[in-house]
Symmetry: C2
Subunit: 352 residues, 2 copies
DNA sequence: CCCGGGTATGACAGCGCTAACATGCAGCCT
DNA sequence: AGGCTGCATGTTAGCGCTGTCATACCCGGG
């Protein structure tokens, strides 16, 4: 008679063909420590509930064998991946790197890992990156900004994935938002320039259609200029909102279009630094003839000549706060407000 | 008599307590399409071997249900994670971001994902980040530089994990190295300055003990200066090798120590830009009285005043090449040479 | 008509781990 | 003594997928 089907036909001590050669399994540790597999699992995940003596023996076996738990198996068994998906517009800009480090600092101590992807400022790409991530069963999601493809919003709400939107505030966040008020930041710059006597403002930055957050800063700036009776800002949009290349030529176009510009708001510091440099080449005195304000307080901002007046943004802090909110939720703690408004700060230096 | 142990006691259509509510499984797709689970799996992974009619029905069911395969389960079953672990020194510098994008561009089309971590230039931290990654069963590893903790080297060799070391060349790579010659780059800068008439060179950059690649550039620079009979370079090491803050004060110390310096090599562009700016503040003419060369060709380098002469490095290309080498290996193709030397390029602009 | 070989699909077990429940054993109370 | 409580550990059955082998079917040749 044939073997009954439920009798193991492989997987004994010799090792089945499907098992990875040489990989150490929890079973191996258990055997060496003289306990069962589940006890090893408990030592690794909830040491407090294991007797001290047992714990010591297991720890020793783990060390001796160099055991590393297979998290794919753990994820499958526990339905918990300890993975957080993060999508930022780009990695090339250090501003988001700060936020990622903030997230990582906070989450890694809690045993979570980050999956980081970038969207290139496109909602479609964001969706496709996210789709790819979904298969890895993230327990939470961090997105940049509040503009997302409707399909993504639906997906997230349906799955009830804890989601944090960062770098902006939302009227109706998908779940939680941790950011700052880009509109107010733009207005704050307008105030500063107006108080310094600027009458003919201009703006250099990304195409409002492409970058929602920069567009809000622009809107806040424009509104406040109007409220204070300044001339309507001359706006020079750029295709790539982070390109010093484009900033240089854009600045030249700007002064050609309106030679009387006496105040310039650059939608980020990379552009502002390039503008300051081009101003020097054109012998336009900054801040004498033109005041320039940046945004973001990049590392170099404080060190260019003249030192750049800019808006400091809580990049690292947003990451930390977003992480904390997610951990609070995971541990079933308080929920807190849905929209968390961290503050920005105008840093006055020499350029305005 | 009790139920025989091999009879399923749960997991029927009602859903067991352990199953995630509402999650769609391959089984659900199979049922809707009127095929078995394995056929769905084949449609998703090797569509070519499935009959066209079946494939269409399955694709439709996948779409209709919005099915996303659980990669944790797939990883466990196939022993293939489609995951590549990457460790860079920091995310805050755009130079590594380029490399990561290069890796990601190439790997994502092949269905691989990246796990990115940062080591803060510390071999110990690198090891601990790597340990954390191991549990997710990466199929390959990308490390920055060729200096690693011995424990890490042992671990990688023992597991036979395909490994690429980037951003440097190694005499004895762990496995594969794809980088460029930092020593030669330093020498190349020395050549350029010497030809321009520099006699009293200096170097501003990270502490050689902390950053091995910057140290090699320094060594190459120093050696070539000596070979050309220049005065031995005055070296001003910095604790944080990327800090414009420190560059500014370091530059001041440098000119105080040796007022006759007529050529400065900054070990990266962030420092070089800060140095140029401080030179202006001190009314030191660049390049008239002092020539300055950077390293890395950051975005802003071409746009500061004076425009920065620097060394362009194949950041994106290293990522792509590293990815290709790993994919070649995964697909069992040719092995190629162990150490791949991509070229750098001195970009002459105005500052030297 | 059967047979061999190729193609398309299915059944089954198991990847390595953990949730859920079961068991065993002190220590204490009645 | 019997039972009850609480702690430490073990047993069992999956988690959702894919490797492997089995099977069904079709086609053409003998």
């Amino acid at each position: 008679m044939a073997r009954a089907p439920w009798v193991k036909t492989s997987g004994g001590e010799a090792g089945s063909r499907r098992r990875q050669r040489g990989r150490i399994r929890i079973e191996d540790v258990a055997e060496l420590a003289g306990v069962s597999a589940i006890t090893v699992s408990r030592v690794l995940r909830t040491p407090a509930i294991v007797a001290e003596d047992t714990r010591r023996r297991v720890d020793e076996a783990v060390d001796r064998l160099g055991y590393v738990p297979n998290l794919a198996a753990g994820t499958l068994a526990s339905l918990k991946s300890r993975l957080v998906a993060v999508v930022v517009p780009t990695l090339r800009s250090s501003v988001y790197a700060d936020t990622i480090q903030g997230l990582s600092d906070e989450l890694s101590t809690a045993g979570y890992h980050l999956m980081v992807g970038y969207s290139g400022y496109s909602a479609e790409l964001e969706l496709s990156v996210f789709r790819a991530f979904m298969g890895r069963q993230p327990e939470a999601v961090v997105l940049t900004g509040v503009e997302h493809s409707p399909a993504l919003r639906r997906l997230l709400r349906k799955r009830k994935l804890p989601t944090v939107e960062i770098w902006d505030l939302a009227d109706d966040p998908i779940d939680i938002a941790v950011g700052f008020d880009n509109f107010a930041a733009g207005a704050c710059v307008a105030d500063h320039l107006a108080k310094a006597g600027v009458r003919h403002p201009a703006v250099l930055g990304s195409d409002p259609a492409r970058e929602a957050r920069a567009a809000k800063r622009l809107a806040g700036f424009t509104a406040r200029c109007q409220a204070r009776g300044l001339r309507a800002p001359v706006v020079e949009p750029l295709i790539d909102g982070m390109s010093p290349e484009e900033a240089e030529s854009g600045f030249r176009r700007l002064v050609a279009r309106a030679p009387d510009i006496d105040g310039l708001f650059c939608l980020n510091d990379a552009l502002a630094i390039a503008a300051i440099m081009e101003a020097r080449r054109l012998s336009i005195d900054v801040p004498g003839r033109m005041r320039i304000v940046g945004f973001g307080d990049f590392d170099l901002a404080a060190h260019v000549a003249p030192r750049l007046t800019t808006v400091r943004v809580p990049g690292h802090e947003m990451g930390r706060r977003a992480a904390r909110r997610l951990l609070d939720r995971a541990e079933g703690r308080k929920r807190g407000q849905r929209v968390e408004d961290l503050s920005f700060e105008l840093v006055q230096r020499e350029s305005a």
